[in-house]
Amino acid sequence: MEVLTILMMISSVLVFGFRSYKLSILSYVFQAFCLVSLFFLLANLHGAKELFSWAIIAFFMKVCLVPAIIFYLVKKLNLIHENEPTGGFLVSIVIAFGFSIATAMVIAPIFGEFSLIKNETALVASIFIFMMGIFGFILRNSFIKQILAYCLFENGIHLSLALSAYNSHSLVELGILTDAIFAVIIMSVLAYHYHKTFGHVDISKASNLKG
C-alpha cells in the first residue's frame, strides 16, 4: 500500500513537471492505474466491498476515458511541449513540491484522527496530490496542464474519500465522478475553442478582461 501511494506521489510530480504533454498524460495514466490498484487493495484488506465498484468505475473513467480525451485534444491541436511557466520549470516544481508536502504533513494527522483507514503515508499522499493539483493550476500557464492539474486534485480527493469515507452512499461517488468527467469534457472543448481563437493554449497571454 505504501509503495502504491508513494508511486502516486511521484507520478503527480511527473504530471506537473514534464514539458512534454504526452509524458504528462502517460504519468497521469500511471497514477490513475495506481489509484485503481489501491482501491482493489483496500477493498481486500479492509473488506470494503464498495471500493470494488469504485475501482471498476475509476478504471474506465480515469485510466481510459479521461486520458483518451486529453490525448485526443493534444493530438488534434498538434501540441507537443508546454511553454516555459512563470518562474521556470525547475523553480515551479520545487515550490509546488515544498508547499504541498508541508501542507500534507500538517493536515494529514487531522484526517488521520477520524479516517476509516488510518494509513499515514496514504493520507499524506492524498493531500499531497490534491495540493500538487492546486499548484499546477496556480503555477502553470498551459490550459492543457491546468486540465491535468484538475485531474490531479480530483485523484487526491478520491484517495481521501476512499481512506476516510469509503462507506458513504454510492450516489456520492457517482455524483463526484460524473461531475469530474463532465468537467474534463467541458474544459477540453473550451481548450479546443480557445486554441482556435487565440492560436495557443497559454492562458497568461489572455488579458482581454481586466479589472
Binding site: 490550459f143 476516510s164 462507506n167 468537467a183 482581454n208
Partner: protein, 491 residues
C-alpha cells in the same frame, strides 16, 4: 410520485424535450415558457406541502425539504421562471439580427433547464456530498450558457469560470470529506453522518477544532462560487460576457445556491464550535468583499460589468449579515438572498433591453434612454434604487435589518464600515444611472423605441416583486425564513 422527485424530473425532462424539438423558434420558445412554468408550479407545490405539514423527506432521507432550502427554492421558482421567460424575447432579437443561430438558442434554453435541475437538487439535498456535487454541477451546466460566442472575451470568461469555480469547490469537497469522517467517528452511523438533518442536532457532540478547519475549507470553496473576495475574479467576467438571461440566472440564483451551501456548514459548525468563530470568519470575508467590490464598481462603465461587481458587493452584504449573526442578522442574510435575487435579475434583464437599444454595454455610449425607452429607464431605476438600498425597495429591508442587528449587538465599528461601503456603492450607482438614462445620446441608437409589453412583462413582474417585498410582509415567505433561522440557531 413524490413531489421532490417531480421537481427534479420536470426540468430534466424539459431539457430533453428542448434538445429533441425541431429547430423552430416559435415552437421552442413556447415549449420553453410552458415547461419553465410547469417547473415553477411544481416547486411551489412542494413548498406549499412544507408550509402545511412541516419538513419532509424522500429517497431514504437523501432528499428533503426544510425551511432553509425552501426559502432558496422560492428564488429558483420565481427568478428562474422570469429569466427563462425573458430569454425567449432576448434570443429572438439576436436571431433576427443574425447574432445567433437556432441551434445555439436551443442549446442555451435546454441548458437553462439543466441549470434549474442542478439548483433545485442543491436546495433539496440532505446529503452534504450530493449537495456539493449539485453545486459543482451548476457550474458545468451554465458554462456553455456563458460562452455564447467564439470570441476572445467570451472564451476567456468561460475558462476563468470553470477553472476557478472547480478549483474553489475542490476545497469544499475536502470540507465535506473531513466533516463526514469526523462525524462518522462520533456518531458511528454511516447513513446519518453526512445528512444535514441528522448532523445539525448532534453538532454539539462533534469535534469543534476539526469543524473549524471544515468551515475554513467550506468558506474558501463555497465562497469562491458565491463570489466572495479574494476568489471572486471569475465573476465579473462570466456575468458580463454571458447573454442577459444567463447573467440573471447566474447572479440571481447560482450565487445564492453557493451561499446556501455555505450557510448549511455555518449552521453545523456554529452549533459545534460556537457562533463566535463562524461570525468572525464571515465578518472578515464580508467587509473585505464589500470594499474590494465598491472600489472596482466606481471604475466600471460597462453596465453588465458594473452589475457583476454589484453581485460581489451584495454577496459581501450577505456574508456581513451572517457575520453580525444573531436571529436578526441571519434573518437579514436569508432575506437579502431573495431581495438581491429579484433585484439583480431585473437589473441584468434590463441590460438586455439596453443592449438591444444601443448595441453596446458601454454606458459612455448611451444617454437619453428616458426618451427612447421610458419604461426600460424606470425599470432600470427601480433596480438601481433597490441595489443601493432606497427605502420601500426589497434590499432596503435586509440592509436595515442588518444595521439594526449590528447596532443592537453593539458592533459599532462594523456598522461604520458597512455604512461607508454602502455609501460608495450608492454614489457609484446613481452616477452610472444618470449617465445612461439622461443627457444626450453619445453613441448610435440601433433600436429607437420601447420594447413591447409582452417583452417587458418579466421585468415588470420582477420590479413589482422588488417593490412588494420592500413594502409588504409576505407571511408565507417570512415563515420560511424565520423557521430557517430557527434551524440554523439549532432550536
Amino acid at each position: 410520485m413524490d413531489i421532490l422527485f417531480l421537481i427534479l424530473i420536470i426540468p430534466l425532462f424539459s431539457a430533453l424535450i428542448l434538445f429533441i424539438t425541431p429547430s423552430n423558434l416559435k415552437l421552442i420558445s413556447t415549449l420553453h415558457i410552458a415547461l419553465s412554468a410547469l417547473t415553477s408550479l411544481a416547486i411551489f407545490s412542494s413548498i406549499a406541502k412544507l408550509i402545511s405539514g412541516g419538513e419532509y423527506y424522500a429517497f431514504n432521507q437523501i432528499l428533503f425539504l426544510d425551511y432553509l432550502g425552501a426559502a432558496f427554492l422560492v428564488l429558483v421558482a420565481i427568478t428562474g421562471f422570469f429569466s427563462n421567460l425573458y430569454a425567449t424575447s432576448y434570443f429572438k432579437w439576436h436571431f433576427q439580427t443574425g447574432h445567433t443561430t437556432l441551434k445555439h438558442i436551443k442549446l442555451n434554453l435546454a441548458l437553462a433547464h439543466i441549470a434549474i435541475f442542478t439548483m433545485t437538487l442543491s436546495c433539496i439535498s440532505n446529503n452534504l456530498a450530493i449537495m456539493w456535487a449539485a453545486i459543482e454541477a451548476t457550474t458545468l451546466a451554465t458554462v456553455f450558457m456563458v460562452v455564447s460566442k467564439d470570441n476572445k472575451k467570451s472564451l476567456e470568461s468561460g475558462y476563468k469560470y470553470i477553472l476557478i469555480c472547480s478549483v474553489g469547490l475542490a476545497f469544499a469537497m475536502f470540507a465535506t470529506i473531513l466533516l463526514y469522517s469526523s462525524s462518522l467517528n462520533t456518531l458511528g452511523d454511516e447513513q446519518s453522518a453526512i445528512l444535514f438533518s441528522q448532523l445539525l442536532p448532534l453538532a454539539g457532540s462533534l469535534n469543534p477544532h476539526v469543524l473549524m478547519l471544515v468551515f475554513i475549507f467550506a468558506l474558501i470553496g463555497f465562497g469562491t462560487k458565491a463570489g466572495l473576495v479574494p476568489t471572486h475574479t471569475w465573476l465579473p467576467d462570466a456575468h458580463s460576457q454571458g447573454p442577459a438571461p444567463t447573467s440573471a440566472l447566474l447572479s440571481g440564483i447560482v450565487l445564492k445556491i453557493a451561499m446556501l451551501g455555505l450557510i448549511r456548514y455555518y449552521a453545523i459548525v456554529a452549533n459545534s464550535a460556537g457562533f463566535g468563530f463562524v461570525e468572525n470568519a464571515m465578518l472578515i470575508s464580508g467587509v473585505l468583499t464589500l470594499f474590494v467590490a465598491a472600489f472596482f464598481l466606481i471604475h466600471q462603465h460597462d453596465v453588465k460589468r458594473m452589475f457583476a461587481y454589484h453581485s460581489i458587493a451584495h454577496m459581501g452584504v450577505i456574508a456581513f449579515a451572517l457575520g453580525i449573526g444573531g436571529r436578526l442578522g441571519i434573518f437579514a442574510a436569508i432575506f437579502h438572498c431573495l431581495a438581491h435575487s429579484f433585484t439583480k435579475a431585473l437589473a441584468f434583464l434590463t441590460t438586455g433591453n439596453m443592449t438591444r437599444i444601443y448595441g453596446t454595454n458601454d454606458m459612455h455610449k448611451m444617454g437619453n434612454m428616458i426618451n427612447i425607452a421610458p419604461l426600460t429607464t424606470v425599470l432600470f431605476g427601480v433596480s438601481i434604487c433597490s441595489l443601493v438600498g432606497v427605502p420601500a425597495f426589497a434590499i432596503f429591508v435586509s440592509e436595515f435589518l442588518t444595521f439594526k442587528a449590528a447596532i443592537l449587538g453593539g458592533k459599532f465599528i462594523e456598522v461604520g464600515l458597512f455604512a461607508i461601503a454602502l455609501a460608495i456603492i450608492f454614489v457609484a450607482d446613481f452616477s452610472h444611472f444618470f449617465m445612461a438614462s439622461f443627457g444626450k445620446t453619445v453613441g448610435e441608437v440601433k433600436f429607437g423605441s420601447e420594447m413591447s409589453l409582452w417583452e417587458n412583462l418579466p421585468l415588470i413582474a420582477l420590479a413589482f416583486l422588488v417593490i412588494a417585498f420592500g413594502i409588504w410582509q409576505f407571511d408565507s415567505f417570512w415563515y420560511l425564513v424565520e423557521n430557517g433561522v430557527n434551524e440554523i440557531k439549532g432550536f
